[in-house]
């Protein structure tokens, strides 16, 4: 579930932090920059593991702060393909079942990866598994807050760096007098999460824990 990623970065220590121990100041700056943030194509950063190398600190003209190049290792949440994870159902929608793990929310199980046959109950907004036995069909509901075991099948990284103003201007060439509200609205609607996991529960043993614990 978690991996150690080696990274190199230049850390800026402002002058009011000079009395502190260099290691502590650097650890605090790194955590401030990376904790709970997603790095593109790496994963969700949790916390600093250790510092492997500290190079010399330099002070540049015009800036009173010191700049230090740091080699460090960071604990990152990045499950490997086909890993089995445990989570809770956040809610169900037409797109599938949304699962959360507390510290990571954007996990989706699309309808084709649910135990087949599955149906979406519009009234209660919940997916259910139509389980057939000799006695008849049982409808197993996937309720909110239920613990669910799933396998990771895919991960999607989206680069959410801000785009320049050029993109916004070309979208509205015919309305020079209009305020930039429409482009702002369009980009606000398409806010993709930077890191999404796609899962499946289509194998024996996967799905709600209550289905398999007799």
């Amino acid at each position: 579930m978690f991996v150690l990623v080696e990274m190199i970065d230049t850390v800026r220590i402002p002058p009011w932090n000079f009395p502190r121990q260099l290691n502590e100041a650097i650890a605090e700056e790194l955590n401030k920059k990376l904790a709970n943030k997603v790095v593109y194509n790496v994963g969700l950063c949790i916390c600093l593991y250790d510092v492997t190398k500290l190079e010399d600190s330099y002070i540049f003209p015009g800036d009173g702060a010191s700049h230090t190049k740091v080699h460090f290792r960071y604990v990152v949440f990045h499950p490997f393909l086909d890993e089995i994870l445990l989570g809770k159902i956040k809610y169900c929608s037409q797109e599938g079942v949304h699962v959360t793990m507390g510290f990571f929310d954007d996990i989706l199980i699309p309808p084709e990866s649910l135990q087949q046959p599955a149906k979406f109950d519009e009234a209660e907004q919940v997916w259910l598994w139509e389980y057939e036995t000799d006695e008849g069909a049982h409808d197993l509901y996937m309720d909110q807050g239920e613990e669910i075991r799933f396998r990771v099948t895919d991960e999607v990284f989206v680069d959410t760096s801000p785009t320049g103003p050029a993109a916004a201007v070309t979208e509205t060439p015919a309305q020079p007098g209009q305020p930039p509200a429409p482009p702002a609205e369009a980009s606000a609607e398409k806010k993709d999460p930077p890191y999404t996991l796609i899962g499946t529960i289509c194998d024996p043993g996967l799905g709600l824990l209550s289905w398999w614990n007799s």
Partner: protein, 134 residues
Amino acid sequence: MLSNYEVFKLLTDLKEQRKDSGKNKHSAGQQNLNTIMYETLKYLSKTPSSRQTPEIVKEFLTAMMPHKLTKAEKLQLLNHRPQTAVEIQLMVEESEERLSEEQIEELIQMVATVLPGDPEQENAAPAEAQIEQS
């Protein structure tokens, strides 16, 4: 790759350190670290990994050596502590071809004895066993 236990230990040690230093936990910059630490600790404390120690992990890995499992499979067994054959089949690829039924039973037994389990579950089980015997 890190096991859940290693991350759990790292976060609990970090929490102790921050509790001792105490001054600037609530500044705007530290809020992200606080949030992620709290949520991750909450998630991990409900898994079997929170009850492990380095000795238990070493014992588990030496016990797993004769079964020739890949690193990813051993990591998953360590993190999840499977109790049924179905769970083992999920975590070990092609388990039907590589492990016989006896070996799967053996794996379940070893996991249950070496890795500490949920104390609530274990208190319920002996009580049921006693009822069955009497």
